[in-house]
Symmetry: C2
Subunit: 318 residues, 2 copies
């Protein structure tokens, strides 16, 4: 079942989206998607059957959404997985042993079709086409074998990332001078004395600036996504294809990510986890996908989940 | 006025805390602190007068809280400022020109007196004593001159940080090999060929693991904190003093932080911003404040805001 949140007759409502893309605004007895998160797979299928019967019976009318909203009205925390693509895991890296996480801000989420507003000061900014899941049931210290049971459904997120802001928010610290007597971690010593330096990057502006989180167009419930670990992902900036990948190439699978993450934080209904970009940096150079220099539509397609598309507009710095 | 959220007769209620620390659980007509955020300074003073009159009239009874909760029931996003202390800004650094931000997770917030649970795998983990503010009014593109008008009140946060997890979640990338043809930012080239390397750290586990956000004990409304830019901060781990500082030593003032931050994200009622640690790394070596090796109480005192104290307990890895 596909559930969206749209503006219809000027108000935010939940909508049912059919397999061929017709959109049916729902009223009573279906509340917001947020209120459906705890439904079991059986309840979801029963709800879908009731809605389909009402469509067939002519009780519901399809409509063009006035606009699309992020599919959750009250998203919880939004957590991304860094560089979770086997293309990043070549020998020249000191790569992660386990998935590494960062937070995306609920404030930066925008719906399908909403404009990503860019400012010159953001510098090089690229889209990151990613699979996201919406948590339906609280999960803490999950086993990998059952971790996916907490997922309500899947959607598409564009984890917009500004390399320019990331660079401004990076710090270079000469470890010895600032922390006399302390030793850095062994892996930092691999090369020379300068490996004692510490580089730290803080990701809020580069990941969470207004508009940096297009999401949707809808949530596809988990029962309709039997294998989220093998979904094709394609993305375009204007006419240029910038990604052609599959979630099969994630370094850490969806269940592995959820199990590891839930060792450190409880996952709550309404939380969103997204799994890492499908852009292979050696195949599609990120600097060629610069939304600032090429403010075209960003379009992301994931098998079975639809197409998330957002125009880009560059405005004068405030 | 000081407002807390406590457990009283087994239920979470709002409480009024007097200047001498007596705690008065409130019932109707005072809702949760979350519902008071939009009150004007005049409304807050009027509410305080009404509560004081009821205390004087014997209508309210003081009580010992069964436990303390984070002062907001529904915190929004929680945003910290990285290394915002003039002690970090010595010439040996490539320091920030503007405040750099990261997110703390609402899920990791715990109340005054609640236990910070540590696991061996966290490695070196230290407290970071910090001033926090609670946003009361939406603010976007704020001017520095009026930025503090959006603050509902101030409280104490312990921005617990695991250096061990931070190190595990750091990536070392040989820039040239992975991104042929791309140039790194000029400042990365300052030393030698290895400055072309990229180091990236992702902060979720090191900053947002369960229990890493003690906050409280209460919110002191902004009218009672005339100069948040000159508050003494002291902290202890057990008997060892680990910080003696003042918010006057922040590299970026409260108004500067809020103005800069609000250029990139709207601040919403219930959001929390915290301003950077008061620990001077040259004066109090962080490795000497290791909560894993010295699981004593962490106590943080800020002038006029009270004392936030949390026991630490080390458990076996799950």
């Amino acid at each position: 079942m596909r559930l969206a949140r749209i503006v219809h007759h000027g108000a935010a409502v939940t909508a049912f989206v059919t397999g061929d893309g017709a959109v049916y605004p729902l009223a009573d007895p279906v509340g917001g998607v947020d209120d459906l998160l705890s439904l079991s797979a059986d309840d979801i299928r029963a709800l879908e059957q009731r809605i389909l019967a009402r469509i067939e019976g002519g009780e519901l009318a399809a409509a063009m959404p006035e606009s699309w909203l992020p599919p959750l009205a009250r998203p919880g925390k939004v957590i991304g997985v860094a560089m979770n693509n086997s293309a990043f895991a070549r020998p020249s890296f000191r790569y992660f042993d386990k998935p590494a996480f960062f937070m995306k801000s609920p404030s930066c989420l925008i719906g399908h079709g909403e404009t990503i507003v860019m400012r010159e000061e953001y510098g090089l900014t690229h889209p990151e086409p990613e699979l996201a899941c919406v948590i339906g049931r609280r999960g803490h210290h999950l086993d990998e074998a059952t971790a996916r049971d907490v997922v309500f459904g899947y959607t598409i997120i564009n984890d917009v990332t500004s390399v320019g802001l990331k660079d401004e928010d990076s710090l270079h610290l000469e470890f010895n001078k600032a922390n006399p007597g302390q030793s850095p971690a062994p892996w930092r010593r691999a090369r020379d004395e300068h490996d004692w330096d510490v580089f730290l990057t803080y990701h809020f502006r580069s990941k969470c600036t207004d508009g940096f989180g297009p999401i949707g167009p809808w949530i596809t419930t988990a029962d309709a996504v039997p294998n989220p670990d093998a979904l094709g992902i394609r993305a375009w900036l204007g006419e240029r294809k910038i990604a052609e990948d599959s979630t099969a190439k994630l370094s850490f699978s969806i269940a592995n990510v959820l199990a590891h993450l839930s060792r450190y934080t409880a996952l709550d209904p309404g939380d969103i986890v997204h799994f890492g970009t499908a852009i292979d940096p050696t195949q599609y150079a990120l600097r060629e996908a610069n939304m600032l220099r090429d403010p075209s539509d960003v379009r992301i397609e994931i098998d079975g989940l639809g197409t998330l598309s957002n125009p880009v507009r560059v405005v004068e710095d405030a």
